[in-house]
Amino acid sequence: LTINGTNIPTGSKKVNLSSWYHDRGWANISNMTFSNGKLRVNQDGFYYLYANICFRHHETSGGLDTEFLQLMVYVTKTNMKIQNSDTLMKGGSTKYWSKNSEFHFYSINVGGFFKLRAGEEISIQVSNPSLLDPAQDATYFGAFKVRDID
């Protein structure tokens, strides 16, 4: 799934990113359902999950609130049956983005192999959403089933 660039939350707080394309451009989805901002698992199995998140700031967007940033992504699994939500993967970096520089850019990539059950849901949270790069080759996430659970 690729980020829907027209609907990115603002601010620097940690937010849930729920606005993704699932059928446009490079985005594709099969055997999984995308609804209310979460990717739901339809079949038990071992899946490889991955996310690529790019942050950028250009001087023409005005000054940053602070030069000391922590740019993070959290990939979370929600299991409705036991009312539990846990982080599967996290990545990112503290950054010093000096005010004198014209442009700043930073990308994070996380990936991992997880046992998922039908009904469980995957969602993405990031810090500093207003710095997200809205291009489809920059901010995207996905999953593919590797094999069944024996």
Partner: protein, 183 residues
């Protein structure tokens, strides 16, 4: 023949039968069959399950990472998740999952061990700030009220998320960001 209402909190349907889930602290190593009940085994060390469940594995207790300024306030057990809190002088920032240095209180105002209160609640904090601005008073001092549901550990009051109670007098130094509960 209407099968008994099954999918309640403690039962699940399998092979047309209504079987019992595993109680908190246990995971389901085998589902029930036509002739046998579910097989439940206790969670291992460092694991827990806080509800009746059909999970094939327990959840892992989180690490109260001293390297992020955290300490254990409740070690957790097979049915209750471990609880961490920031060491004195710091409060939990949910945004970055770290302990952030507390802002300084003005002279004459002293937060009553705010660092031990992992209960800095984002939403309440902003509400207070609004009231605070309107009331023109810069800081309000914190005093936690206790109630039956809370378990006291050392000198920290521990409330589950649902029972977040914060009285009017919290020390919210100007421009200070609050963290969500439960690091």
């Amino acid at each position: 023949q209407i099968s008994p209402r099954c999918n309640s909190e403690k039962h699940y349907e399998h092979f047309g039968r209504c079987c019992t889930k595993c109680d908190p602290g246990k995971y389901m190593s085998a589902k029930c069959t036509a002739t046998s009940e579910s097989i439940c085994l206790p969670c291992g060390p460092d694991e827990y399950l806080h509800t009746w469940n059909e999970e094939d594995k327990c959840l892992l207790h989180k690490v109260c990472d001293r390297g992020k300024g955290l300490k254990v306030v409740h070690p957790g057990n097979q049915t209750f998740p471990r609880q961490c809190a920031c060491i004195p002088g710091y409060h939990w920032s949910e945004d970055f999952e770290i302990c952030q240095r507390n802002g300084k209180c003005d002279p004459g105002f002293e937060a009553e061990n705010p660092s031990d209160l992992w209960l800095w609640i984002n939403d309440r904090c902003s509400i207070l700030r609004r009231n605070k601005e309107s009331s023109g008073d810069n800081f309000i001092n914190t005093h936690m009220s206790t109630n039956s549901a809370s378990q006291a550990y050392e000198d920290t009051l521990l409330l589950t998320k649902e029972e977040k109670i914060l009285s009017e007098d919290s020390c919210y130094p100007q421009g200070h960001t609050c963290g969500e509960a439960d690091p």
